[in-house]
Amino acid sequence: MALKMVKGSIDRIFDKNLQDLVRGVRSHREDEAKYISSCIDEIKQELKQDNIAVKANAVCKLTYLQMLGYDISWAAFNIVEVMSSSKFTYKRIGYLAASQCFHDGTDVIMLTTNQIRKDLSSPNQYDTGVALTGLSCFVTPDLARDLANDIMTLMSHTKPYIRKKAVLIMYKVFLKYPESLRPAFPRLKEKLDDPDPGVQSAAVNVICELARRNPRNYLSLAPLFFKLMTSSTNNWVLIKIIKLFGALTPLEPRLGKKLIEPLTNLIHSTSAMSLLYECVNTVIAVLISLSSGMPNHSASIQVLYTHTHRLFLKYLGLLAMSKILKTHPKSVQSHKDLVLQCLDDKDESIRLRALDLLYGMVSKKNLMEIVKKLMVHVDKAEGTTYRDELLTKIIDICSQSNYQYITNFEWYISILVELTRLEGTRHGHLIASQMLDVAVRVKAIRGFAVVQMATLLDNTTLLAGSGQHKSICEVLYAAAWICGEFSEHLEDPVHTLEAMLRPKVATLPGHIQAIYIQNAAKLFAAVLNGQQGTPDCQTMQESSQLLIDRLPLFVQSADLEVQERASCILQLVKFIQKLQHKEVEVGEEVTALFAGELNPVAPKAQKKVPVPDGLDLDAWINEPPSESESEDEKPVAVFAEEELRHARPHHTEVDEKELARRREARKQEQANNPFYIKASPTSQKDSTGVEHIPVVQIDLSVPLKVPGMSTSDKYLKLEEERRQRERKERGKKEKKKKKKREKRSGMGRRHDSGPESEEDIAPAHMVDIVTEEMPENALSSDDDEKDPNDPYRALDVDLDKPLADSEKLPVRAHRPTNILKSPADDGEVQEVPKEPKKKSKKEKRDKEEERKVRLLWLRCPNGEIQCTCTKSSKHKKKKQKKDKEKEEKKRKKQHGHSGDREGEESVQNGTLEEEPLPVCDIQGNLQNGSQVVVSIIFENKSTSFLKSMEFNVLDSLNSKLQRPEGSGPHDGLTVPFQLPPGVSNEARFIFSVQSIVMPQRLKGTLTFIVKADDSSTHEKLDFKLHFTCSSYLITTPCYSDTFAKLLESADLKGTSVRLQEVSLPFHHLLAKICFHHHFSVVERIDSCASLYSRSIQGHHVCLLVKYAHQTVTIDAKCDESSLLGNVLEEIKKTFSQS
């Protein structure tokens, strides 16, 4: 045995050890693969020996080879052998090899479970440590499941060395075997308090990693971590905790508020960049979640920025700033210079980041400056990708928010023109569309744009470049179109015309050629028109001749569009030439071909075209063709039907044979068609034909006439001068206003970086952006922004608006109380009704509970209706309190509504103090003639939680609560919310009403559960809903002539009422009637006025109100006498109350 051992070690002396192998590999650079394959053969031999030391050596070498990229998976079993050696030396090597090359797919891993378990429980902590380390790399779901319990035990090992590793590896185990998380978590949490800082930080690590993926589950740990954060001094731990908080704050904004202070302290005190960076990141997350700005953050960015000398911080700083930019753009803007500096950076990723940032940083003031910088970069940019990126960014920056920041469009056009000089850019179409957009929408710039475009057309570089760089010649598309469309601005149309018809144009893509030809025609028209009346008609004839000479080239074009337009226009010109020879003036007629201005169309225009009355877009125009219908049977088809047939089944009916036949015919036709260019040979001929034509190549080194850098600079300068001038002028004026200004700037609105604030810069006067076109009679009132479903809108109504002229009048009065109103003035009142339609649709149910009488407001499509709601309050215990509340409510009632009296009759049937006290302002909407929508606000004034509220009303014959389908006539409606103490919410119900001539009173109950700390009780509230007749009236404006006609008609029956001892001023009185009873004033003369209203079912109600000596006489007419009687009764009540 001993001999064998000695023999083994002697053998080994001759084996290669790792160092030999490394040396060998290094000395065989030339034939490394060959050398290594020989080594592998040796290793295979070594692995066959049963000496563990030899095996370990072999495995060690294999590990090295694995790193060099050689496959060693075949030795997996040997690795397991070495792992299970009892000697630490070999075990270590075995685990290392395993951790390097085992993965989920390695099948021998199953064999290791027991070995690992044994090692984990080894008395030697380094054995355990090595096993844990190895396991962390190759743990599989199976291993995790089998070993989770062992590892969990190790978390409480006596040695911190083991505890630490065990805690960390738990994270890997959780990932592979999630079921282990819940049982292990309590122990993991314990480790946060471990006496050993290493174990503690490991636990923080694991929990932070877990929490980052599912922050919600770890919210409860926040206080613990907060404590750790304020006490720990270990930066590694701090970073993890702060990162964790960054994940938690979006879920719990309150946490964010708490964090700001300690984080800011850390930012100011720490010297570790990494910690600083983490803090800043979390502060940003906090700010985003808080949404309200905190002053501190700009300070923190500043801190970060003072360290930009270290290059990588630039990148991170920019990253952080782009996060801040999203929520606090203002604070980033002041760092403009820093960001611009970053554009000079060698690192492309930094430059791209900076570009992103610039987009958000521009303002009217700095746009030109920033773009100028960018243009410089465009010039010196190396890679096309980066240059294209720059180009798109420049255009994005300039065009954002509808050119909001551009004050001088001449400058912008020249920038665009400069950009066309970029070779090989992919964004020609982008530049082109910008040119078109600006020229069309900014009227004032057209003259300038046309001149610039003419130079572009004239310059052949773009044409020359069209071969390789297809994209940039898109610009010519825009140029040609602008020149043609706005040809009246051209200085020398003939010259431009010539430029557009150069033979070289034929090398451009088809769609551009087509535009050239079309616009050449426009130019021609302009030339003719311009020369009209002049004695010398040579120019006209020359230009006709020019067209006739050049167009045939395009007539031969392979592009169908070009061909068609060219031949069409050629014939036209030939005809015109004939007329010219006869000395006929044709200018106007030709111009008429292109008459009419093209205006930009608003993006939403299509949507807003009103559907004409009686047009149902969903209806079939014709009966859909029936399948059985056969074609032959219908010799005489109606046109439309014919078309339908053609449109659909046609293709399917063509069989193969037919297709072949047609193809043949087409070929034949093509062969005979002189205009059709056959396959490749001809087309080549064609293009060579173009090439003979001598084209003067322009030497590029000679500065082109194309406006270069200098032009846009020129405009930049001009603009600056203009601003200066304006500023000076303003300065003069300002001296007078100075005092005022100071006050304003004191409010902190001032921009620190310049004497000139943003809004002071007026755009150059000539620029105005043409408003986009809307279809005629577009629905004017559809406000796109307003959310008709906003439930709070209803509550919004003026409850706290101070009463202007009569404190007795409820705030809601829209109507001026003292003036005669023309019906048109009522417009604003009318607006309201539109959105209720949707509201009522949306909301169905509600309940309510009340202690007192309150008022209900109903709103109907065209006006408002009030109704009163009488609610019985129930009190048993707290009489006093209730009385107080009663008072309160009374006040509210009086505040605005008639019918308050009802409240006094409230039944006291007793209830607990903690019941909710709904605020009884109820809003309702009338959807149609038979529906009333009642909105009720429930307010919980108690200190208990209220839930399961159910609202029910006893239906009368006339009025019914609308219940969801399927529920019985006596079922209550569930209120779709619960009420915590002190909270109020609003719910709506729809009632259907049959007759509106009588006031209605509905009894109802609200049941709910009061949830106290330990118990919950069922409670019930009774109330009454009072629908007055006035509530069925809709404020409708009426013109006096219509009113007069109404009165004359025999349909209306009259009655009158007299009110004594009314001490109100007359205009208050009118306002009161208008407000409470939904009338509008038609006309008022002195102390006499006529009022009008309409019911939801279309009854007219006319009033003539006279006032003399504290007596009011109301003569009224209506086509429904009982309705009128009731309304008058209610009016009477209103005044007797006050």
């Binding site: 070690s9 080994r12 050890n17 790792l18 160092q19 490394v22 050596n57 590990t63 790193m67 496959d71 998976s73 000697k87 630490f88 030396t89 270590r92 290392l96 951790s99 390097q100 090359c101 993965h103 989920d104 797919g105 030697n124 380094y126 440590g129 090595v130 844990l132 380390t133 962390s136 790399c137 599989t140 060395y161 590793k165 960390l168 994270y171 890997k172 290493g198 930080s201 490991a202 690590n205 694991v206 980052r212 270990n234 590694w236 970073i239 990162k243 994940a247 960049m273 990494s274 960076y277 983490e278 990141n281 290059l311 990588f312 630039k314 991170l316 060698k346 690192d347 990723s349 930094i350």
Partner: protein, 157 residues
């Protein structure tokens, strides 16, 4: 951290540690791609780059590049610190470490790394503790080797 790579200026891999299970093929592909990307960067460039959905943090020490892949949320700066800390550990252990030390004692480099990081997370932030653990483990190894005979000790060293 997802993985750590050490490679020379010539693009030779000197050390690799993967904290996510990947197949050899995938590992090779990633390594090749990253080595190329990082070596192509100029010395003045930023130490961070976005690569696939990961962030790469790298730093060059003498002729060796240390390169780590971290996730989007991770802190680049602390990763740089981890790299630096590891270099310090190697330096202390080998005594002014050079590339050759790592080539010839690559398993030691791994052992140190394993004491410092576990499963991609820093397990021990104290340099002293890491070195102590390594020394003791080495001692254990030497003792065992000596028991077994001087030859083994010579080999391991």
């Amino acid at each position: 951290m997802q993985f750590m790579l050490l490679f020379s200026r010539q693009g030779k891999l000197r050390l690799q540690k993967w904290y996510v299970p990947l197949s050899d093929k995938e590992k090779k592909k990633i390594t090749r791609e990253l080595v190329q990307t990082v070596l192509a960067r100029k010395p003045k460039m930023c130490s961070f780059l976005e690569w696939r959905d990961l962030k790469i943090v790298y730093k060059r020490y003498a002729s060796l590049y240390f390169c780590c892949a971290i996730e989007d949320q991770d802190n680049e700066l602390i990763t740089l610190e981890i790299i630096h800390r590891y270099v310090e550990l190697l330096d202390k252990y080998f005594g002014s470490v050079c590339e050759l030390d790592i080539i010839f004692n690559f398993e030691k480099a791994y052992f140190i790394l394993d004491e410092f990081l576990l499963g991609g997370e820093a397990q021990e932030t104290s340099k002293k503790n890491v070195l102590k653990a390594i020394e003791q483990a080495d001692l254990l190894q030497e003792n065992q080797s000596e028991d077994w005979g001087g030859l083994a000790a010579e080999e391991v060293l």
